[in-house]
């Protein structure tokens, strides 16, 4: 309890108080405690496109991570056999290097003179002639960085599933797809739910991918604005805090609605 108060409640209250501060007139960079709700109004009106992009990019990344991650988790749980350990290591291994370094590495791989962009350019498949500094790169970066968070929960729920139940589906004359749809998939839903949440929440608040792989105006997310209000704009502290709180509220609301709709007993 004391731990929770110290590491969760205290910083939150502090951040909330900062989000209501005002500037001293004539002294940019100095603040006093106030109840300046205009900070929140500004956060919503000035940076609405950034909120939209955060939600959109995080949603897309979650979708792609699911599309890529589910077959991977399925293969690991049921088809891998003795390769399971190796596959597991491959999924987890990226965690051993820094998140930022890996994203910078992608910047190199996707750069104009890298083999991917130059190959695509050579066969005229790359409108605009580049990959970095586009929203595609940002979504791809988010998908890549949060993929393990999708794979691992799904894998663990599939792995726990009783294989005899799945066999029973076959015994009852269901074909492979029907068995999957009516037996395997529902059994893995808690994992899917956890995976989508674990991907969406950090992706919505992420700024590293948009900073390193995105361009300057059209792909900036809320995280970028918060960073720049904190560190670049003189007098931006309250705005940054208000943005953080708004983002948190938005994510909480979405997550709440989502778990209400799709939530299963095990998770709640």
């Amino acid at each position: 309890m004391a731990w929770l108060v110290m590491f969760f409640v205290v910083p939150m209250v502090q951040l909330f108080l900062v989000s209501l501060q005002s500037d001293y007139p004539g002294f940019p960079g100095y603040y006093y405690q106030d109840v300046n709700v205009a900070n929140y109004a500004r956060a919503l009106t000035d940076f609405a496109p950034h909120f939209g992009r955060s939600m959109l990019f995080a949603g897309l990344a979650t979708f792609f991570a699911f599309v890529l991650g589910y077959p991977l988790a399925y293969a690991m749980a049921f088809k891998a056999g003795r390769w399971r350990g190796v596959m597991m290591i491959c999924v987890i291994a990226p965690f051993f290097t820094s998140f930022i370094l890996r994203t910078i590495a992608w910047r190199q791989i996707l750069s104009d003179e890298g083999w991917i962009a130059s190959t695509l350019n050579a066969i005229n498949l790359l409108p605009g002639g580049r990959i970095t500094e586009t929203w595609v790169a940002v979504v791809a970066g988010l998908t890549y960085n949060f993929l393990p968070f999708m794979v691992l929960p799904i894998y663990s729920s599939l792995e726990r599933a009783n294989p005899t139940v799945i066999e029973a589906g076959g015994d009852l004359y269901a074909n492979g797809f029907t068995t999957f749809r009516t037996v395997t998939l529902p059994m893995s839903l808690p994992g899917v739910l956890a995976g989508t949440l674990l991907t969406f929440i950090p992706a919505a608040g992420d700024y590293v991918n948009a900073e390193l792989l995105g361009s300057d105006v059209s792909t900036k997310m809320v995280g970028n604005v918060i960073e720049s209000q904190f560190f670049r704009v003189l007098g931006g502290f309250p705005d940054a805090a208000a943005l953080s709180f708004t983002l948190m509220a938005l994510i909480l609301a979405l997550v709440f609605a989502y778990t209400r709709k799709f939530g299963t007993e095990e998770l709640l």
Binding site: P25, G26, G29, V35, Q108, D216, N224, F231, R232, L234
Partner: protein
């Protein structure tokens, strides 16, 4: 400086602003409730506003006790690629020599990537007088101005630094933000101009408009410091940067940057990180800092990297070493500063960083080893050169202007 006293009670203040903005009474009541709650939570009235420094009322800052004599260390925070570095030994030769000579251990870190980000990171701590564990930090003129104005730097004794006292170039002795150099000692200076790869671009770039050519679309990077990027654009419009231009002039330049980003000419707006884009081929030209291109040449072994001052003129800036208000090693820090004003040492640094050297006599020292480099106008510009190339400093901004323009610029680059 004149300023209005903010209303003392946050609750009253909120109600006043609400009445002005015409909210409904119901929401006023609701917010009033929230206000009362928050006020009760914080339970503190706004503190007195910070004193305008420089006014008679400002008290002299209390300096921490100097322990230089017992703790022989200095923590030096500087920018990237700003000190001679030996790739083989992974050490800084001039610093090594200093440590050997004086027995003072210098921890050198490349902490500063951008004036704003570094300052905003440390400023809250410095204002609260919490030690940031740095004894020297390096800021560009305009930011040094802010640091001194806010009394976040310690006064130095220039007469304890004989090399600085005798070798600091006369042109740098009197600066508006620090008359008599009581707080700051110049480190290096430089120009902002156009950098490009001759072969990849396939022609010479001479003016700012050359950057917006169709075949360079999406291959241009510009600096995230608006004094440089917007400054060069203002010069292209014939505005005297050091003169008394107004907000409209700057806004015109900002609008041009916005347009170039929207049209896809400008690919990225970055701080020192633009060097990576030049190396990887994502960008082939852009607005850059002079010395970086020479370091890039040396690093990549590619002499096609070219730096030019646009025909309409370039900007000049200077970086300054300061001692943070919390440092307890001021005397050691002053020894480091003094050491870098030894002409022989300064020549060694200049030969590596290729930035404008503030030390008298360094040119003669450098000529002994490398005559061609000693003649470089990018390290030792003559007055005639500065006039001919129309090189200007960006005029000093007031605190309000700084905040206002900074916020506008953030919008331009998407933040």
């Amino acid at each position: 400086m004149q300023h209005r006293e903010p209303p003392t009670d946050p609750f009253v203040r909120q109600l006043v602003s609400m009445m002005n903005s015409g909210h409904s009474r119901r929401s006023a009541l609701k917010l009033g409730g929230a206000a009362a709650l928050a006020a009760a939570l914080s339970a503190c009235a706004p503190p007195a506003p910070p004193l305008a420094t420089g006014s008679a009322a400002a008290p002299a800052p209390v300096l921490p006790v100097d322990v230089s004599a017992t703790e022989k260390t200095v923590n030096f925070a500087n920018w990237t690629a700003y000190l001679d570095y030996d790739e083989d030994t992974k050490k800084y030769p001039t610093l090594e020599a200093f440590m050997k000579k004086t027995g003072i251990k210098v921890a050198y870190t490349e902490d500063v990537d951008d004036n704003d980000t570094y300052f905003n990171k440390i400023a809250p701590q410095l204002r609260a007088k919490q030690d940031i564990k740095r004894d020297i930090f390096t800021f560009t003129d305009w930011m040094a101005n802010r640091v001194i104005r806010e009394q976040l730097a310690q006064p130095l004794e220039i007469f304890d630094m004989p090399n600085v006292a005798s070798n600091l170039l006369p042109s740098l002795r009197q600066v508006s933000f620090d008359p008599g150099r009581k707080y700051s000692v110049p480190w290096q200076g430089g120009f902002a101009g156009i950098g490009y790869h001759k072969k990849k671009v396939g022609r010479e770039l001479k003016t700012m408009d050359d950057l917006w050519a169709d075949d360079l679309k999406g291959k241009i990077t510009v600096l995230s410091e608006f004094r440089d990027t917007a400054g060069l654009l203002m010069q292209a419009k014939g505005i005297d940067l050091a003169g008394n231009w107004g907000k409209a002039d700057l806004e015109t330049a900002f609008a041009e940057v916005s347009k170039r980003i929207a049209d896809g000419n400008i690919r990225r707006v970055k701080g020192n990180a633009y060097l990576e884009d030049l190396k990887s081929g994502n960008a082939t030209a852009g607005v850059v800092w002079s010395g970086d291109l020479f370091v890039l040449r040396a690093e990549t072994g590619d002499d096609d990297w070219e730096f030019v001052i646009p025909e309409s003129g370039g900007t000049i800036w200077n970086d300054n070493m300061l001692v943070p208000i919390t440092s307890t090693h001021r005397k050691n820090a002053m020894q480091v500063m003094d050491y870098y004003y030894d002409p022989a040492v300064a020549a060694q640094v200049a030969a590596w960083v290729n930035y404008v050297c503030p030390v008298k006599g360094a040119q003669e020292e450098l000529a002994k080893t490398d005559e061609e480099l000693a003649a470089s106008p990018f390290i030792f510009p003559t007055d005639a050169y500065l006039t001919e190339k129309k090189i200007q400093g960006f005029r000093a901004l007031s605190a309000e202007e700084e905040a206002e323009y900074g916020a506008l610029w953030a919008k331009v680059i998407g933040n």
